[in-house]
């Protein structure tokens, strides 16, 4: 029999799950042995019980966070890709707009969020703008680099065959940019969630309620620590699912040809 450590399934699935189970067990045992009160640090079973009992309320909050995340992500993808195409079409557009994209990126969203929330009346719209602002940059920069990094010899081949601008775009530039775009997508999906949660926190401190972050804030005021953890768990799970979905998409689109997705022969 092959040693367990060489088994692909064990390394990829079972090993990380085992570590997770171990951490949870130590956590549970430690809390019980030292009789740590649930309002200081709840045990995993406390959190699970809370998650089950408060599920309807938490799911409502999750739904509003998800709504903001997905809308922001969609806006970032559409607007970011459109901007990247514009950037590669003309140098003057690129150089006149890029600095502002960078400014948008380097300004901490937590500092801008209050302003946006004051200016935009509708809470969901305000939150979506905040999240989209930070989710858009990886899409712009990755897609722009991707559209530019076409193999020069391939570009020559297209030139020799008198391929038009559109042909070159569709048959060469876009496929070449795809791996970069998908990497951008992966980062951006995570940022959209972070942006949504940060914006919800800012809105929540201003008394406008929405989403899981507001639930966390409320629970901390009420010292309902297990509920804080339960909300936190839902946010993390959302992030992981988003990441896996993007990785899956990337695998689906690149699996047959790109180095990043091909299985390496050992």
């Amino acid at each position: 029999m092959r040693p367990l450590i060489r088994n692909e399934w064990f390394v990829r699935v079972a090993a990380p799950l085992l570590v997770g189970a171990l951490v949870l067990a130590v956590w549970q045992l430690a809390c019980q042995t030292y009789e740590v009160p649930a309002y200081l640090f709840p045990t995993p079973t406390d959190i699970a019980a809370k998650l089950a009992s408060d599920l309807p309320g938490l799911l409502g909050a999750l739904w509003s966070t998800l709504k903001v995340t997905f809308m922001a992500f969609a806006i970032a993808v559409i607007a970011g890709t459109a901007l990247a195409f514009l950037f590669t079409q003309s140098r003057i557009i690129e150089f006149s707009l890029l600095p502002y994209a960078v400014i948008l990126q380097v300004t901490p969203i937590a500092a801008v969020a209050p302003l946006i929330i004051i200016l935009v009346k509708d809470t969901t719209a305000a939150l979506t703008i905040c999240a989209a602002v930070i989710a858009i940059f990886p899409i712009i920069s990755n897609t722009t680099i991707g559209l530019k990094s076409v193999d020069p010899s391939l570009a020559n081949y297209f030139r020799m065959n008198k391929a038009g601008r559109l042909q070159t775009l569709v048959r060469l530039r876009i496929p070449s940019a795809l791996p970069f775009f998908l990497a951008g997508l992966r980062i951006s999906s995570g940022l959209a969630l972070i942006g949504a949660v940060v914006a919800e926190f800012v809105a929540g401190t201003g008394g406008r309620s929405a989403g899981l972050a507001y639930e966390i804030l409320q629970s901390s005021f009420q010292l309902d620590i297990p509920r804080m953890f339960a909300a936190l768990f839902l946010i993390t799970a959302t992030g992981v699912i988003l990441f896996l979905a993007m990785a899956g998409l990337s695998n689906l689109l690149l699996g047959h040809w790109h180095e990043s997705a091909l299985k390496v022969e050992q």
């Binding site: 010899s153 020799m160 065959n161 391929a163 042909q167 048959r171 060469l172 047959h256 040809w257 790109h258």
Partner: protein, 255 residues
């Protein structure tokens, strides 16, 4: 199976000679060549040997229309027509699109030129892949093929263009010795009748498949007189006369 391809390949395309007169090219402030004259005999394979950086590739790109000629460079097709649209180009890298299968890569040229892809065109592409021994790997993407197979797909694609003039820039230099010998033979057979310029750094390769062999050297570079080995290409690699010629070529290259 090769008969499938033959008729389309040996269709009466008139062979066209190419002359380059007074070619001048400056690259990065260095004059690579100046007042260079060179001729490709129509329907024959001309091989160009020379040290790296001497300007072989640049000369080839000049003929391919990929580099802008400096005056007073003149590029003349001997039948008086334009060169544009009558030149096919094959490079050291296979230049295959990694996201397309072998057949689609061969069909890329006609697609880019906006030609209708009918059953006849697809059949021809299949026939060419068959001729290079890849008839059973039509759907295979480049990542699934070995270096030699990829270069064979590239050869099929070059033949698909069906241009009277074919320019090849070290097309086999990245391959192992045996694969290289096989591909040289295949290329010589399939390219017969076309005007070919093959740039290489391998004297044996030039001697196997060239009708005329030139050495390019110096700065600014000059092209020496032609060597015309006996016999018709592809010549066997173990021919003693060939080996003697190889020694002579190596001497010329080293000097």
């Amino acid at each position: 199976m090769h008969d499938l391809v033959r008729p389309t390949l040996s269709a009466p395309i008139p062979s066209i000679g190419v002359r380059i007169e007074g070619a001048r090219l400056t690259y990065g402030g260095v004059r690579l060549f100046d007042g260079l004259d060179f001729a490709l005999e129509g329907g024959r394979c001309t091989c160009l040997l020379g040290p790296s950086g001497v300007g072989k590739t640049t000369l080839l790109r000049l003929i391919a229309g990929l580099a802008d000629p400096e005056p007073p460079t003149k590029l003349i097709a001997e039948d008086g027509g334009p060169l544009e649209g009558r030149v096919a180009y094959m490079a050291q890298q296979d230049l295959l699109l990694p996201w397309l299968g072998a057949l689609d890569n061969v069909l890329l040229g006609p697609r880019l030129r906006g030609e209708a892809i009918g059953a006849a065109v697809v059949d021809r592409a299949r026939g060419l892949l068959d001729a290079v021994g890849l008839g059973d790997r039509l759907r295979a993407r480049p990542s699934e093929l070995s270096g030699g197979m990829r270069q064979r797909v590239a050869l099929a694609r070059t033949l698909m263009e069906d241009r009277p003039i074919v320019l090849m820039d070290e097309p086999f230099s990245a391959l192992d010795a045996i694969t290289r010998l096989r591909l040289q033979e295949m290329a010589a057979r399939l390219l017969a009748g076309k005007t070919v310029l093959l740039v290489t750094h391998d004297p044996l390769e030039a001697l196997r498949i060239g009708h005329r062999i030139h050495v390019m050297a110096g700065q600014p570079a000059e092209i020496g007189p032609a060597i015309s080995p006996e016999g018709t290409p592809p010549r066997p690699p173990d021919d003693p006369a060939l080996l003697a010629r190889q020694a002579e070529l190596l001497r010329r290259l080293a000097s």
